[in-house]
């Protein structure tokens, strides 16, 4: 900042602007904090991170982790402590905010505007509010693939279309930074894919993208950088490669009538096998082709063989009831070299409602493969 100030005193406004852009990131959150109500713990505690030009930054966290609060604080829509700077300026100080920052907030299942309006009329109206021509609105309808439905009323729009219209709205001023709050939540896989492609292309064009997400798998697909939030605290801020290495693992899901036999063979071959219930197993440590070959060699019939990416901490879901205490020691031993401090803090997940409570979260991660090794 001090550097930018000295530059300002010496040079003209255009050069100054250029210098400021070079010094500051498109988005910089500094100590965003929101106190909890009535003595509850803070909704968001001292969150600092930045989003860089040409990158997709994902703010990742489960529901209630404070991602949306962070965005709303950054935009000045909520009161709190800390600040967020867009190219070195708070949002309310931007002279033409729509030219610098495009924002997609709100839910996908609500229309982007008055439900009785037609999409083209609505977007043209917003174009006037943003001070751009109606042609730009039509162009964006094409770009978001809404042109065929441009004359339909907003109440007939699906969640995916709502989201794309909201995106078109945010893009009207041709901003260099995009802020999106769960843009892909509740959307069909095809729409999710389209959104990912669009945001990646936007970043590739030199823009900065900040997206909040809940799903680590989506984050791994979309992000260049992943900022993980948990209960309002910053847990990790890592490049996506590191994120993938520490938070996710590849598994192969195998289904068939004789998987129990296959599980023994796989375990003998050194893979970690986990029963998913019924006749499905998850295998870690062997590639899909190798499993297929092994099954073929032993004449085992398979119905399904598919790659999957799962979190290190399996989501609390249906688990076989196990006496958890027995395998604690083994579980700790089995923590591989890949387990770093970062992953350890990232892991906590709320215990499954109704399910039995495991003694510690850390063990749940590796409990099952080991147990099933013994079982089969």
């Amino acid at each position: 900042m001090a550097q930018a100030q000295t530059v300002q005193t010496q040079t003209g406004p255009a050069v100054r602007d250029q210098q400021v852009r070079q010094v500051h990131h498109p988005f910089q959150a500094i100590g965003l904090t929101k106190a909890g109500r009535r003595g509850r713990s803070a909704v968001l505690l001292d969150l600092s991170f930045d989003a860089r030009a040409g990158q997709v930054t994902v703010l990742l966290g489960p529901e209630g982790s404070g991602r949306t609060t962070a965005l709303r604080l950054a935009l000045g829509l909520e009161r709190g402590q800390g600040t967020a700077l867009f190219h070195g300026r708070p949002y309310r100080r931007l002279s033409r905010p729509e030219r610098e920052v495009g924002v997609v907030l709100g839910e996908a299942d609500r229309p982007a505007g008055h439900p009785g309006r037609r999409a083209r009329a609505h977007l043209r109206m917003m174009a006037a509010a943003a001070g751009v021509s109606a042609r730009r609105a039509d162009q964006l309808l094409e770009q978001t693939r809404l042109a065929p439905a441009a004359e339909h009323r907003l109440r007939t729009y699906s969640p995916g279309m709502n989201r794309r219209l909201q995106l078109a709205q945010a893009l009207l001023g041709d901003p260099s930074t995009l802020l999106l709050d769960e843009p892909t939540e509740g959307l069909s896989p095809k729409n999710v894919e389209w959104f990912h492609a669009f945001l990646r292309a936007f970043a590739a064009g030199g823009g900065a993208v900040l997206v909040t997400l809940r799903s680590p798998q989506q984050a791994a697909q979309l992000a260049d950088r992943v900022v993980t939030l948990e209960l309002g605290r910053l847990m990790a801020d890592q490049p996506v490669e590191e994120f993938r290495r520490t938070r996710l693992r590849d598994e192969v899901s195998v289904r068939g009538p004789q998987v129990a036999r296959l599980a023994d063979l796989l375990a003998a071959a050194g893979a970690a096998v986990r029963h998913e219930g019924g006749n499905v197993i998850s295998v870690e440590g062997l590639a899909r082709t190798e499993i297929g070959e092994l099954a073929f060699q032993h004449g085992i019939l398979l119905h399904e063989l598919a790659d999957r990416v799962v979190e290190h901490a399996p989501a609390p879901g249906p688990r076989p009831p196990e006496p958890a205490g027995a395998s604690l020691a083994k579980a700790t031993v089995a923590l591989g070299p890949g387990e770093t401090v970062t992953t350890q803090v990232v892991v906590p997940t709320p215990p499954a409602p109704g399910g039995h409570v495991l003694p510690a979260r850390r063990e749940t991660r590796v409990l099952h493969p080991l147990l099933f090794d013994e079982d089969d």
């Binding site: 935009l75 829509l77 949002y91 309310r92 905010p97 729509e98 924002v103 997609v104 907030l105 982007a112 505007g113 008055h114 009785g116 309006r117 037609r118 009329a121 609505h122 043209r124 109206m125 917003m126 006037a128 509010a129 943003a130 001070g131 909201q166 709205q169 945010a170």
Partner: protein, 267 residues
């Protein structure tokens, strides 16, 4: 930001801006026809041509067109609260001011057109239904003597639109804006008579009686603004007094809003 373009596109894109004029024109034509017939049935003194033109109803505190303009104005403001524009497009102070001005201009023009539309339609009704009265009025208009009350009527319609708009902006809801519009004539009269100081003398009674006269459910009550619709107002206020009575609520609401504007985050 092109606030006027925005407001024009907003107004033309919602159904209410087409429905309201249709309803208003239809209702005022019906009232005009009924007024003409009532005059004809009574035989004696024909209905005041002015009352036919403005479709004045003794029951309503304001002309139908003013109420319609108020609905459009209130919806115009209510839209920004029910379907807010995506974030800060409209958040900086100067933009909110520009938007308010654009809304005032658009609603004003809309209300003016609505008023002229009702006048024209009712003039046709009058021409068809009551030749002699129409002929006299037409001759006067041809000679350039347009009744002042017609100008007052148009001003009242425009003011109705603005009161609806400003009321809705102040209270952040279209329904509240309509309530303000309906409350204004009720509140203006006691204030006006208190200010003029002559109300008591003319009323000839004490305060309680006067209050009773202002009770809006009373069907025979003569509204202050009625003078602008050819209804016989109980109070004989001068033209200047009427102009003040029309402009004062608008100005007061505008001032109240301008005081609040910098303290608000949305419109």
């Amino acid at each position: 930001m092109h606030a006027l373009t925005y407001e024009r596109r907003r107004l033309s894109g919602v159904r209410s801006s087409w429905l309201v004029p249709v309803v208003v024109l239809g209702a005022s034509a019906v009232v005009a026809v009924l007024t003409v017939r009532q005059g004809a049935a009574a035989g004696s003194p024909a209905a005041d041509p002015l009352r036919v033109l403005t479709a004045g109803l003794p029951l309503l505190p304001l002309p139908i067109a003013a109420l319609g303009a108020g609905v459009v104005g209130a919806l115009s403001a209510g839209h920004e609260f029910r379907h807010p524009a995506p974030l800060a497009l409209l958040r900086p102070l100067r933009r909110r001011l520009a938007l308010l001005l654009a809304k005032l201009v658009t609603v004003g023009v809309f209300a003016g057109l609505l008023g002229v539309g009702t006048l024209v339609l009712d003039a046709v009704v009058l021409h068809l239904g009551h030749h002699t009265a129409a002929a006299r009025l037409e001759a006067a208009v041809l000679h350039g003597h347009v009744p002042v009350a017609l100008g007052g009527y148009l001003a009242l319609v425009v003011a109705g639109g603005w009161i609806g708009l400003l009321g809705a902006v102040l209270l952040r809801s279209a329904a509240a804006g309509m309530l303000v519009l309906i409350m204004v004539p009720v509140l203006v009269e006691p204030v006006a008579s208190a200010l003029l100081g002559s109300g008591a003398a003319r009323g000839g009674g004490d305060g309680v009686l006067r209050w009773h006269r202002f009770f809006p459910v009373d069907g025979t009550h003569a509204w202050l603004y009625g003078a602008l619709s050819g209804l016989h107002s109980g109070t004989t206020v001068s033209d200047a007094g009427l102009a003040v009575a029309v402009a004062a609520p608008v100005l007061m609401l505008l001032l109240a809003y301008l005081v609040l504007l910098p303290r608000r985050s949305a419109l």
